[in-house]
């Protein structure tokens, strides 16, 4: 493969890379899709929710053939106390037509998604690590790989190498992520018979449920857990900010075991068999951590560019959309015969005009509030106070309701350290969620 030149090289066959490769190959460009795993998806991990709209935007005719697990008809949010939960959920038949989202497994989905790019003409080169970018001056002109004679040349390199993005680091467009810009998530796939899943989660056929939980389960660290229903497995995991993990000295898998013992979770996974343990970083720096998205001869997409909306656990859809948009910009660059920053900037513009930028900007203060506020307050004391307040309100023990209400408010104030602090946290939270 030495010295062969392509229109584009895509590094990483995850959702961003495959979307980019598919988009360009379909337009007739010569594209290489590089992947370090044995096959696309071999190294990849997500919580497990895949959204239809952004997949359909890439593959209008094929999206319905994607290998998915269950279509989500109900989403639950749990605020966890030690042995309790205050819950909120929404179920709606309308989520079926058209589907809003599904649960999925990356090993199946990523292989299928990359195979679409291959079918469109992208040249797959798997089991190959892109070790560095080849540059000439300030232009990226190719990649060096860990194969013998493994230099590949192209007009554009689309960097889709995931959260660790060693290539992005080499470009110097973003500094090393700081521990407060990433979360570590650990996850188990737990096998359970279909009927058990259906009964326990109140489901018919291929319907599915997602549960996100926060509170006592993260042991005083900023983080969120999830439990999703697949066909005959459950995806159970929890992610916490790496700076908190460093401080707390809690082993990630012990945190997961702690979650498994919570009475709200324990009964749902009871009798299940762990089929796979996994861990991955999630880029959670928000909009302020997003680097410039293109330059002379390169674009950067998906996790590698911190394009994750962690408030709504959306990542793979931002990845697919950014990959598609990068691909579209490269197609335009090919038309113009100009692969410089001037033309590839089109990609930045597309992202800026899309939901990606708007959503990330909306929540850009979240990262700061998580950094400033005591995680014990946000993830232990307040959730606990809400649980205690709910317990009191529903407990019929002869105490008049008026007194209970006073007590409930008292719990919240105490947890925050006074009325003023409670208001302050509330205001900060509101601002963080509204740009």
């Amino acid at each position: 493969m030495a010295n062969e030149k392509f229109d584009a090289i895509v590094v990483g066959a995850g959702p961003a890379g495959s979307a980019a490769a598919y988009t360009m190959a379909k337009a007739g460009l010569s594209v290489v899709l590089l992947e370090r795993g044995e096959f696309p998806g071999a190294k990849n991990l997500f919580g497990g929710v895949l959204y239809r709209k952004q997949l359909e935007d890439v593959l209008p005719d094929q999206w319905h053939k994607a290998p998915v697990e269950r279509h989500i008809v109900e989403q639950r949010i749990w605020l966890m106390g030690k042995d309790s939960a205050v819950t909120f959920s929404h179920r709606n038949e309308a989520y079926k037509e058209p589907y809003n989202c599904w649960t999925a497994l990356r090993v199946k989905f990523d292989q299928w998604f990359a195979s679409q790019a291959e079918a469109a003409g992208a040249v797959p080169i798997y089991e190959t690590v892109a070790t560095e970018l080849i540059t000439e001056g300030d232009r990226v002109v190719g990649v060096r790989t860990d194969r013998e004679d493994g230099d590949l040349y192209a007009d554009v390199v689309v960097i889709a190498d995931g959260v660790n993005s060693l290539l992005g680091k080499q470009l110097g467009i973003h500094k090393e992520w700081q521990p407060d810009e990433v979360s570590l998530a650990v996850k188990e796939i737990i096998a359970l018979p279909k009927e058990k899943i259906q009964d326990r989660f109140n489901l018919e056929g291929d319907e599915g449920v997602t549960i996100e939980f926060m509170g006592e389960t993260s042991l005083g660290m900023a983080g969120m857990g999830f439990l999703y229903t697949n066909k005959d497995t459950l995806s159970l995991g929890i992610g916490v900010m790496v700076n908190h993990l460093k401080k707390k000295k809690i082993k990630p898998y012990e945190l997961l075991d702690h979650v498994k013992k919570h009475p709200m979770i324990r009964r749902l996974i009871e009798g299940g068999e762990t089929k796979e343990y996994a861990g991955h970083l999630i880029p959670e720096g928000g909009w302020n951590s997003v680097p410039p998205l293109s330059g002379n001869g390169w674009c950067i997409t998906g996790d590698a560019a911190q394009l994750v909306n962690f408030v709504h656990r959306e990542g793979s859809n931002l990845a697919m959309t950014s990959g598609r948009m990068a691909g579209e910009a490269v197609i335009e660059a090919k038309k113009r015969g100009d692969f410089s920053r001037e033309t590839l900037r089109l990609y930045d513009q597309k992202v800026a005009e899309s939901f990606i930028r708007k959503d990330l900007v909306k929540y850009k203060g979240m990262h700061q509030i998580l950094k400033e506020e005591d995680p014990e307050l946000l993830f232990t004391r307040l959730p606990q106070a809400v649980n205690r307040a709910a317990y009191e309100m529903f407990l019929v023990d002869g105490v008049p309701k008026g007194e209970k209400q006073k007590k409930a408010i008292q719990y919240l104030k105490q947890a925050a350290g006074g009325t003023w602090n409670l208001l302050k946290v509330g205001m900060k939270g509101w601002r963080a969620m509204n740009g």
Binding site: L45, N164, E176, H280
Partner: protein, 92 residues
């Protein structure tokens, strides 16, 4: 149904290279490191402190990158395993 980390790691398929992709740059730094955080935050227990040096069980690595970012002295040289080596998830 909680199981030990050894049992958890047993659920992952590995193709182990004979060369480590994780290298402690300077054991002297580990010697003076007070917190030894890598022995806690690694989700696969790759790092262990023997009292004299940090050992690296790179065979267990699930390639998350936490140690690359988490080591307070950036004392871990972190690259991907060779193409096709390392973990291969069955579900993901």
């Amino acid at each position: 149904m909680s199981n030990s980390i050894a049992e958890k790691l047993f659920t992952i398929r590995y193709k182990v290279d004979d060369q480590s992709h994780l290298i402690i740059k300077d054991q002297q730094v580990c010697l003076t490191c007070e917190t030894k955080e890598c022995t806690h935050f690694c989700p696969a227990d790759v790092y262990d402190w023997t009292g004299e040096m940090t050992t690296v069980a790179f065979e267990n690595c699930i390639e998350c990158g936490t140690c690359r970012i988490g080591c307070p002295y950036y004392n871990i040289h972190w690259v991907y395993p060779k193409g096709g080596y390392g973990i291969t998830y069955k579900y993901g």
